[in-house]
Point group: C2
Chain length 226, copies 2
């Protein structure tokens, strides 16, 4: 076989391969568009949500069915929120104004028991409200810092494993979950997650009791416009 | 030229063209990654923000410089928020718990003067707070509906032109903007925007004074998990 023939065969082989890959990709996109073109995780859910039993999320391997009278094995906005919190495998950073919900407190304590590093930043005034879970969480040995400024630390976001953002209008209270009209947005889109990670770290440093009065820490956030 | 030769030339031409396009795409991505891979608009900004003059946003063609003592021509989280609101060209749907900020009220009235259809959904109790702008907005002829339930309509989101979502922890109040720690997330990612459009329409229908008691309207939101 001559060199020219070899070049032609290789050339035709390459064209066949390239076109096949392109066409297969196109075909896959057409047949299963949701599997290919979705990109990073994106979810939105709204509240109030149905009240359902959450026991299976905390004890998935229990052989005994939960005897409580609530509906079981149904997906609600709240169970989705719990699933995202409980999915943490390496870290959880939580920045929340009001925290009184017992199930969410249980989820935090369960992650702590699993050895997941947790940092919680909250508003000092709202640690004093009836039913606040911050005391119980602190007593369990989880690191909590409080924003004690004259105004509100009004955020309601969490970053799971440094890559999944959970944010919205929802405070971690029973009223917010079962009564109010609220929203939660979950995303792993880096352009949306990274500014929250940076802001959490800034607020965490600002509210370090040992460093609070050092002049090097910026008191106002940078406008993180991407 | 024989048919075989023709096939070979066309084949080699196709391979050259396909590979060139692939390689040029790869090169463009490497050289200008932010221009290619960003996808839909995504912005995050945090509050409190610097106080700056916003006059130029409302009167961009004015030949006279604003005489006020505030800093001019600087970008802050609040000017970014105003720019997004004022960018509306076909519609604005706003779902907000508390609305007392005068600049945001001025932005809404400016859009109304331009003939942009505006729908505002708010919490009935919070229309009565000191400085609420809802009365002035209603008097201007903008359509406002109030959620008069016993619990809070706690959302703080807007949808601009049916495609740009503005959501976060921030109520439309002066305290939230100049004092509190707050966040705003802006995105045109359809998977995130569409659930908010659906939820707005549902709440708009639920709170139609003429239809509020019809049984066909769902009182609880569907869990819009995408």
């Amino acid at each position: 076989m001559s060199v020219v023939q070899m070049v032609k065969i290789v050339g035709l082989g390459a064209v066949a391969l390239t076109l096949s890959v392109e066409w297969l990709g196109w075909l896959f996109c057409r047949l299963w568009p949701r599997k290919i073109s979705r990109g990073p995780l994106k979810e939105v859910f709204f509240f109030p949500t149905e009240v359902a039993c959450t026991e299976r999320l905390f004890t998935p391997n229990s052989p005994f069915p939960c005897p409580c009278p609530l509906p079981h094995n149904i997906n609600t906005s709240f169970t989705r929120l719990l699933v995202h919190i409980l999915s943490a495998s390496s870290s959880l950073d939580l920045c929340v104004f009001a925290f009184t919900n017992l199930d969410l407190s249980r989820a935090i304590l369960a992650l702590h028991t699993r050895g997941i590093p947790i940092r919680i930043l909250t508003d000092m005034d709202y640690t004093l409200i009836t039913g606040s879970q911050i005391g119980a969480i602190r007593r369990a040995g989880i690191c909590v810092r409080c924003d004690s400024g004259a105004v509100h630390m009004h955020h309601k976001f969490a970053v799971v494993d440094g890559r999944r953002l959970i944010t919205g209008s929802l405070n971690w209270t029973l009223t917010a979950i079962q009564s109010n009209k609220e929203n939660i947005l979950v995303t792993e889109e880096p352009d949306l997650v990274l500014p929250f990670i940076t802001e959490f770290q800034r607020l965490w440093d600002v509210n370090d009791p040992a460093r609070r009065h050092l002049p090097s820490i910026t008191e106002k956030p940078a406008s993180l416009v991407l």
